[in-house]
Each structure stands twice: as C-alpha cells, then as structure tokens.
C-alpha cells in the first residue's frame, strides 16, 4: 500500500478515530491524518492542506456531506481527490445522490476494516 494523507470528516470524534483505525487495519500507511467535524471545517482545512483521500460522513450539522461534495470543486487543491462517503442511511437514493455529486464510493455504517479496505484499495492504487 502507498503512503497517503487523508481527511476524515465526521461530527463524531469517536467515528473519526474508528475510521482512522480501520484504514490502518486495512493496511494503509497514513502519513498525515486531518480531521473535520463538518463540511465547513473540511473546506477550511482543504484550503490550507492537500490530501490524497477524503472520507466523509453524510449526516452532519452545519454542512452535510452532500453539500460538502458539491462545494469541493471550489477548492483547487482538492480537485481529483477521491471522496468516499460514510453513511448510516442505507438509502439507495442518498448513495445515488452522493455518487452523482462526485463521490468515488461509499461505505455503510456499521463497517468492518475489510469493507473499508475493499472500498478504498482501488482508489489508493490509482493515486499518482
């Protein structure tokens, strides 16, 4: 696995830690882990930092994951960065909405490290 930097966006600090741990358990070597509690914070973070991969919750206060996805192209350094949505919703329509808005994939909570690996492996391998 390549060494990558990630941004994890979730209003739950516990979930952010679990996502990070799952990425490491999936075999990813994380050289930098940035965290944000909602879409607004995530956009602000990305204005000053460049990452290789973004994992974002959908249901969040202030700015949810879908709006964050729509705003993401306004950040030059984030163009082309794969975004994996993480959701409890289990709703096909929400997943379709996320993919249409530019998400590269999704992970449904609850998840196992293997499921995380399955979702992000191909995205990480595709990174330059």
């Amino acid at each position: 696995m390549k060494k990558i930097s990630v941004l994890i966006v979730d209003d739950s600090a516990v979930m952010r830690k679990i996502v990070e741990r799952s990425l490491r358990q999936a075999g990813l070597e994380l050289v930098k882990v940035l965290e944000a509690g909602n879409g607004v914070e995530a956009l602000a973070t990305l204005r000053g930092e460049k990452v290789d991969l973004i994992l974002s919750d959908i249901n969040m206060p202030s700015m949810d994951g879908l709006e964050f996805l729509k705003q993401l192209p306004t950040i030059e350094s984030a163009k082309g960065v794969p975004v994996v949505m993480i959701t409890t919703e289990g709703s096909e329509s929400r997943v379709v909405e996320a993919i249409s808005a530019g998400a590269s994939g999704y992970i449904r909570k609850p998840f196992t490290p293997d499921q995380v690996k399955e979702r992000v492996a191909s995205l990480v391998e595709g990174l330059e």
Partner: protein, 163 residues
C-alpha cells in the same frame, strides 16, 4: 418516550416478533462490527429500562418515531472502551460513542424493514445522562423494547413508532 410502563402518555410495550427481531439483529450487527463484543438477548432483564445514560434518535417519514438505547455509565464505558480500542474513555467520548451506536442501530434497523430505507430520515442523535430520570415521547402508536446482554450488563433498546 417513557421507558416505564405506568405513563398514560406512553404506549404499552408490545411483544412483536418481527420488530423485536429487527431490533435484535440491527443491534447485534452494530456491536459485532463496531464494538467488537458479543451481545445477545437478555431474557431476565425485566420490563423496565434502567440506566443513567440514554442515546436517542428521531425517525421521520415512512417509519416515524424515536429509537433509544439506555444503559448504565459502566456499560457505556465498556462500549466506548471497545470502540476506541482503549485509547480514550472520557465522558465526552462515552456520550459520543453511545450516540453513534444509536445512530448506527437506527440506520441498520431501517434497512431491515422493507420499503423504509429510502423513505425514512434520521435526526442527529441526542444523549441524556443523569441519576434519576424518565423519558417520555408523545408518539401515539406502539412501543417495542428488548434488553440485550453486553459483558453481563443490560442494554435496553426501545422503539416508539407512530402507527
């Protein structure tokens, strides 16, 4: 939501196999994947939910009501400890963990009821804690409740839904 059975504002608890089974399966899957500990039905827990911390989440749409998870601080601490791999069990992490468990159980439950996943929205979870409190919900419908055993401690899952 009143997790005691003596309130006129709270529907009586109905033993209802499909709902109970959905709640049991949804909870067991979340614990298996995210907490990493076995959890199973606790038949001898009684009918009154007890505990000094409760996570709640609202459901709106095709399935409308409230799902709550009530347990002791000790049980919530064990959940947080396992979820975080023992790295942080502060009071805020404990509340955060229970809220997320509630969120995931509700989300998982939606997928088990045909036709509901796409037409039911979840609220942001809320966590209440204290030494002595009762929870009331104004839901005019039915209430389903199960108790599950997690490391020897009861975890109460209650679903109050509009008919």
């Amino acid at each position: 939501m009143n997790q005691r059975s003596n309130s006129s504002t709270t529907p009586a608890i109905h033993p209802h196999r499909p709902w109970d089974k959905h709640m049991e399966d949804a909870t067991a899957e979340v614990f298996e994947m995210m907490v990493g500990g076995p959890i199973e039905l606790m038949a001898d827990a009684g009918t009154v939910a007890k505990g000094d911390i409760t996570g709640m989440i609202g459901l709106a749409g095709a399935l409308c009501g409230v799902l709550s998870i009530r347990c002791t601080q000790e049980a919530a601490g064990k959940i947080a400890y396992r979820m975080l791999g023992g790295s942080d069990t502060s009071a805020s992490s404990l509340r955060d963990a229970l809220g997320e468990i509630c969120n995931m159980v509700a989300g998982n439950l939606k997928t088990k009821v045909p036709g509901v996943a796409d037409s039911c929205m979840l609220s942001v979870p809320t966590v209440v804690s204290g030494e002595d409190y009762e929870l009331y919900t104004m839901v005019d419908g039915e209430r389903f409740q199960i108790a599950m055993n997690f490391e020897g401690l009861p975890i109460w899952i209650t679903l109050s839904i509009h008919n």
